[in-house]
């Protein structure tokens, strides 16, 4: 009985400790960020390329098909009420407010987050981080902060591309394939989408960008320095990011409504 209690105690204790360590890690990253942005901007650009430009293909293809599905589903369900013209409004609201930021964050975790976690984790496993410390180079500043900032900058841009390409997909399916009138497609959209909706989407994508990048570099930096440990860190990145993003999504939506 006391054994179980002790286990529970240590699990809770360990969880709180890890959570606190994550907060401190985040604060350290934020503290170093301005300096790196100003003095080592080249490093950040390289990471924006890795996290953002290289993720464009998957984001655009997924965005196009998600938009297309919204067009199909919206059309077939709205047709029951003779409101097929609203398919543009439905697709735009769904993409800008929810699907754009959320699916982009999940894809970002899968495409860029895993790359970050495994890269940093492998550096830890092959003692590259220790070697840097030996050379009086702070690995958090040199390695972790640029990758974190790259993700934070790339994520909102990726979400915007996702939503825009998604609208293109909805347009292709709705207007070109199913024959919704172009004029009413865009007019209904413009009537129902407000600037506040786009703001909500931007806020979400920024928050998700911070969360996904932080969790990826955190998992990589604290990976157990073995082959198995790096693999586990990569998996945990995707799992925890997905959970955190969806919880944050719910909270932000609840606040914004």
């Amino acid at each position: 009985m006391t054994g179980v209690l002790r286990d529970v105690y240590f699990t809770v204790f360990e969880f709180v400790r890890t959570f606190g360590a994550l907060q401190l890690f985040f604060l350290r990253l934020l503290m170093y960020s301005p300096g790196i942005l100003v003095r080592r901007f080249g490093l950040v650009v390289g990471q924006v390329y890795n996290a953002g430009a290289l993720s464009l293909v998957i984001i655009m293809i997924c965005g196009f098909f998600v938009g297309g599905v919204l067009g199909l589903q919206g059309f077939s369900n709205l047709a029951k009420f003779n409101a097929e013209d609203s398919v543009g409004a439905v697709a735009a609201l769904a993409l800008v407010k929810e699907l754009g930021p959320v699916i982009t964050a999940l894809l970002f975790a899968g495409r860029a987050g895993t790359a970050l976690a495994s890269e940093i984790g492998l550096m830890r496993a092959t003692d590259q981080l220790s070697a840097m410390e030996m050379m009086a180079v702070n690995p958090i500043r040199r390695i972790v902060v640029p990758r974190f900032l790259g993700g934070v900058i790339a994520m909102p841009l990726l979400a915007a591309v996702f939503s825009a390409v998604g609208l293109l997909g909805a347009h292709v399916v709705g207007v070109s394939l199913l024959g919704v009138d172009v004029g009413s497609f865009w007019q209904q959209m413009q009537q129902s989408v407000e600037l506040a909706d786009i703001q909500e989407g931007i806020i979400k994508s920024v928050v998700f960008g911070f969360a996904a990048s932080l969790l990826a570099v955190w998992e990589g930096y604290n990976a157990i320095p073995t082959a198995e440990g790096v693999g586990r860190a990569t998996t945990r990145t995707v799992v925890i990011t997905a959970i955190v993003v969806l919880i944050f999504d719910f909270m932000i939506t609840a606040v914004a409504l």
Partner: protein
Amino acid sequence: MQQTRTVELGTGLFALLGMGALFFLTTQTTGGKEFTASETFQVTARFENVGSLRARAPVAMSGVTIGRVKGIVFDPYALDAVVTFEIDSSYDQLPDDSDASILTAGLLGSQYIGLQAGGSDTFLEEGSELMFTQSAIVLENLIGKFLVRGGSGDEE
């Protein structure tokens, strides 16, 4: 060197594409019909039933948005809804006997307030109250009336 150039070019293209997408979303998908005016004056009107009118709904005259609904409260003494709305101060020559009705944009669209000009020589100003109002048409009541009338028609 070649490597760096590719990275920089890719990043630049990506950033431009992202900002372009953001610009597209903010300008093309929104109506931009958000009412903004630096100077406004407030007018109230009492309605028996406001239907699904919400704060921030547009106030239109001849189809042009000239203001927006600020707040809707229920008056427990007069037992009706008091709608406060602000109107752009540049429209300071609206007759004060204009009537306000709650209309629906399209068949299933959102509700807005439509003003119909009256013939008075005095104008609406801060704190005026519109005397002539027409409530929102509630679809259920309309159907109910139609059914009752249809029923009595059969009996005759």
